[in-house]
Symmetry: C2
């Protein structure tokens, strides 16, 4: 079996402690999803594949049909191999940014409205990230790594907000 990015992300989360598919899903929604979104319809089949490949195993089932998975030794080795031996992909795909190249096809006021919406969106995401940053957590290698990831989110969305506020005035600036 060939493990992809989602598979490695699941292994990485399970490296911390066993979790159910649902708990993994919630983790994506609350933190990883800012960098790599995943839906339940992708997570459950992927867990089944990782189990067949012997990288995770099922633990004792929980109350409401919840079935926790834990990492096997092979799974632990695989996630470390991924981090150490494979090149990270730097491709970025962002439809909202792509649209900027076509703003000149709209009337100036429509283009400006788009940029104002971009500012609004940035403010919204930034507020979410600041709420996460406000939660205190003890210092450990794991929380340190999460803090570094969070700080990247804060800085890039802050930059995006400042850019959007600049762009709103730039788009209607007098020619020259």
């Amino acid at each position: 079996m060939r493990v992809g990015t989602l598979g490695h992300a699941l292994l990485g989360l399970l490296a911390d402690h066993p979790r159910t598919g649902y708990a993994l899903l919630k983790h994506f929604e609350q933190s990883l999803g800012y960098a790599w979104p995943a839906s339940h319809s992708q997570i459950y089949p992927e867990l089944a594949k990782l189990r067949e490949a012997g990288l995770i195993r099922e633990g004792a089932s929980l109350p409401r049909g919840g079935r926790p998975y834990e990492l096997t030794k092979a799974g632990h080795e695989e996630v470390r191999r991924w981090l150490r031996e494979t090149e990270p992909s730097h491709t970025v795909r962002n439809e909202a940014s792509l649209r900027l190249f076509f703003l000149w096809l709209l009337e100036p006021d429509e283009a400006q409205a788009y940029l104002r919406d971009e500012a609004r969106r940035a403010r919204h995401v930034l507020a979410e990230l600041e709420a996460i940053a406000a939660e205190p957590d003890p210092d450990s290698p794991k929380t340190r790594a999460y803090g570094i990831a969070l700080e990247l989110g804060l800085r890039t969305w802050r930059a995006r907000l400042e850019w959007a506020e600049w762009a709103v005035t730039e788009i209607c600036r007098a020619p020259g």
Copy 2:
């Protein structure tokens, strides 16, 4: 036919002036690709679909087998409809950022090396964008829109570089 993001991007580029598939590909590599990468194996079939849908039409063929496409009236309407009436997707997918959440699975020196590489990458992309920004172009709605897109790239990669330089020291900071 249902037109997706790639299709709309192609229509948007052709709204400026007719181009061959190859010219569109080069445009993706040099500018749009920073926000939405596309390969020739995706572009050529997509152009064929847009033509069948009557959104673009083929012009007279050029010297080396090049076949330029131009926008039809329906194509022009479709790209404007896309910009005005559909919600932009804000999903972001970035493997390099995802890996940050798993840095604690590596030895401290390996994690630091990863962050140093992130800084190097940011410096590289920033240099590319600054080279593009250095090229002078006349003021027009189109160049204004491109300038706004470019400025976003400059600011976000600048933020990412500063973040990476901070993170390199943060990851090896004394606990507490």
